[in-house]
């Protein structure tokens, strides 16, 4: 039983990581129908940037976090103003797969390249926000950072879900994703919503990177894997439901931990990806995507 509970705790922790990135992807896709493939790179910037500021430049931890989050927000804002604005506001319509995938894919490549040049190839981890040994209840052990990760994921999922469901601003944001032209006709500034939510999810991802990095550590190459798992979690939430993306991420994390614990520690990722692949191709309706989604 204790083994099961420990695996469950580990699975929920990694699942929370997948879930929060899935939620970030889903909320932005809902607003502008673009997949943010750079979300993992924002998390990497958050983690490595904070670690560098604290360890190399001896900046106090809270100031380092604040400076790093501000820098990530600025990068996201600049990307929106410098690229997305020209691509989508000046030349609306007809972007197809290029619009869905490749603008943020380009950003991801640039961030990774810059991070490699600036931070090198070493593994970095920001200091723990809640330092101390793992919390033990009988045979059940859970890392403090893990508790923070799960709490932040659940809270973020709930806040994003409530924002989209219960606020006028959230409904206006959803309307932009349904129809840019329609939303503009009724006076909604779709570009503003796209920019705000892009910056907000970038900062959230960076904060999550700071919270998570004591557990996993980050290199300049950590971003794409995180983004990819986030895409999978968001996919199981039809790319539009952040609350469901968190739940999907938690389920994927728990499944991964259980496969690692009870089936094979070496092949758990292979099995997990194969199972997810099987679900997508055999029961695509579980994703809730329409045939014209792309």
């Amino acid at each position: 039983m204790s083994e099961f509970l420990n695996l469950l705790a580990a699975g929920l922790t990694s699942g929370a990581i997948y879930g929060i990135f899935g939620a970030c992807l889903a909320v932005w896709f809902r607003v502008c129908n673009i997949l943010n493939l750079a979300v993992g790179d924002f998390a990497m910037l958050g983690a490595i940037g904070t670690a560098e500021l604290v360890q190399s430049d001896h900046v106090p931890f809270p100031a380092a976090v604040a400076a790093d989050l501000a820098a990530v927000g600025l990068v996201a804002w600049l990307f929106d103003r410098g690229v997305l604005h020209f691509a989508f506001d000046r030349r609306p319509g007809g972007h197809g797969i290029v619009g869905v995938f490749f603008y943020t894919f380009g950003l991801s490549l640039v961030i990774e390249g810059v991070a490699q040049t600036v931070f090198g190839t070493d593994v970095h981890g920001a200091p723990a926000i809640w330092p101390g040994p793992a919390i033990a209840i009988a045979d059940f052990h859970v890392q403090r950072a893990g508790i923070l990760v799960i709490a932040l994921a659940v809270a973020s999922g709930l806040v994003l879900w409530a924002y989209l469901r219960f606020t006028v601003s959230g409904r206006a944001a959803s309307a932009c994703g349904e129809s840019v032209l329609g939303s503009r006709i009724v006076g909604i500034d779709s570009a503003l919503f796209r920019r705000r939510i892009f910056v907000a999810t970038a900062v959230l991802a960076a904060l999550f990177g700071v919270v998570e990095s004591p557990l996993t550590g980050f290199t300049y190459l950590s971003g794409p894997t995180i983004s990819l798992i986030g895409v999978v979690a968001a996919g199981f939430a039809a790319f539009r439901k952040p609350g469901r993306a968190v739940v999907a991420g938690l389920a994927i994390g728990v499944a991964e931990a259980m496969l690692g614990g009870y089936v094979s520690t070496s092949y758990n990722d292979v099995l997990l990806y194969a199972i997810l692949f099987g679900i997508i191709i055999l029961r695509p309706e579980v994703l809730g995507l329409s045939a014209t989604a792309a």
Binding site: H95, I97, F102, G113, F239, S266, V270, I280, I281, T292
Partner: protein, 367 residues
């Protein structure tokens, strides 16, 4: 005489258009064959001129990628099929060649044919289920494929784990390494020429128009009687087979296969090659694959800062010309030829006017 009677007589007088005649007319399109021959001849001459140098090896490797990107033009660019499994099938081709030659003593031709058959079968089996998935679900499913196939390859000692398989034969051996490289390169460009010809033939045929209609709007495709599932499957299998042939070319050129050929980075490289050069142009993607392969392997500055350069170039291309360098060249040449045509028209009109004026004066004088 009434109109229907006239129509009946005209149709009786008109030569009968038989299906054979229609087929004959359709076969007259010279572009696919000419382009295929051009690619094969120019490529062979270039490789012969390289005489087995390092640059020749780089170009042959680029030719391997080009075979894959030619298939991607049909799959991603022309049919807009959101499949990201090309690196996996490139791995099937490369590992298939390596395993058959080093463990089962197949020769190069046998292994190439076997790899094509294996890839076609595998793509058909995967495609039957994968192409059921709509739009983004297909993208999602095929994004997952490289993840677990790469891990399987690295865990498998039979496939050489992280070091891969060494000792893959060149397509056409020679007395020296250089001559073998030149001969294998020529076989590779002939394969590339064949791939180019077939892809152009499909794009310029009725099937190509059906694919174009499907890409624009699947309901439009269905309304004109296109079997969406069948066409999706055919495109998936064809693109995957070309990816496997490209993988076999890479393995043969380099003499070894490593798991990197299967991974996300290989897929990213292929996407960059297709999108930067022009996802709808076969010739542009061939040139793009070779030039990008050359730049990434032969220039220290670019290989060190590859990510930044790829990202910035990709963003610039998408912003300035979403159809890539080929689209930009088309636009520039189109403007220039339009200007030339305009100049020609005004020159012709001026000549006609001058002729008419001279004629008018002469005529007037005579009168």
């Amino acid at each position: 005489m009434t109109e229907p009677a006239a129509t009946a007589r005209e149709s009786a007088e008109a030569p009968a258009v038989t299906p054979q005649a229609v087929r004959r007319i359709r076969r007259r399109d010279p572009v696919p064959v000419a382009t295929a021959a051009g690619v094969a001849i120019v490529g062979s001459l270039v490789l012969a001129a390289m005489n087995g140098s390092y640059l020749g090896l780089t170009i042959t490797t680029g030719v391997g990628y080009a075979v894959v990107t030619v298939g991607m033009v049909l799959q991603l660019g022309y049919s807009r099929q959101l499949a990201f499994s090309q690196s996996v099938f490139m791995g099937v081709g490369a590992y298939g060649t390596g395993v058959l030659e080093t463990k089962y003593n197949f020769n190069s031709a046998e292994s190439l044919l076997a790899v094509i058959a294996i890839a076609a079968l595998a793509a058909f089996l995967v495609g039957v289920v994968v192409t059921r998935a709509p739009g983004l679900a297909l993208a999602l499913a095929t994004l997952l494929l490289p993840l677990f196939i790469y891990q399987l390859a690295t865990f498998s000692s039979w496939l050489g784990s992280f070091s891969g398989i060494d000792g893959v034969l060149p397509f056409w051996n020679g007395p020296t390494y250089e001559s073998a490289l030149v001969r294998s390169g020529i076989v590779s460009v002939v394969l590339l020429g064949l791939a180019t010809g077939v892809v152009l033939r499909v794009m310029r045929s009725g099937v190509g128009f059906q694919l174009m209609a499907m890409a624009e709007d699947e309901r439009l495709g269905e309304s004109i009687g296109v079997s969406l599932r069948q066409r999706r499957l055919e495109v998936f299998v064809f693109g995957s087979v070309l990816a496997a042939v490209g993988g076999a070319v890479l393995a043969s050129a380099q003499g070894l296969v490593t798991p990197t050929v299967l991974g996300e980075s290989a897929e990213i490289t292929l996407l960059i090659m297709v999108f930067v050069s022009g996802r709808k142009s076969v010739i542009a993607t061939i040139l793009g694959a070779i030039v990008i392969e050359y730049l990434t392997t032969s220039t220290a500055f670019i290989s060190t800062n590859l990510g930044i350069i790829e990202g910035i170039v990709l963003l610039l291309v998408l912003l300035v010309e979403p159809d890539g360098v080929a689209g930009a060249v088309d636009r520039v040449l189109g403007r220039r030829t339009d200007r030339w045509a305009g100049n020609l028209r005004s020159w012709g009109a001026a000549r006609l006017r001058a002729g008419a004026d001279t004629g008018g004066e002469t005529g007037g004088g005579a009168a």
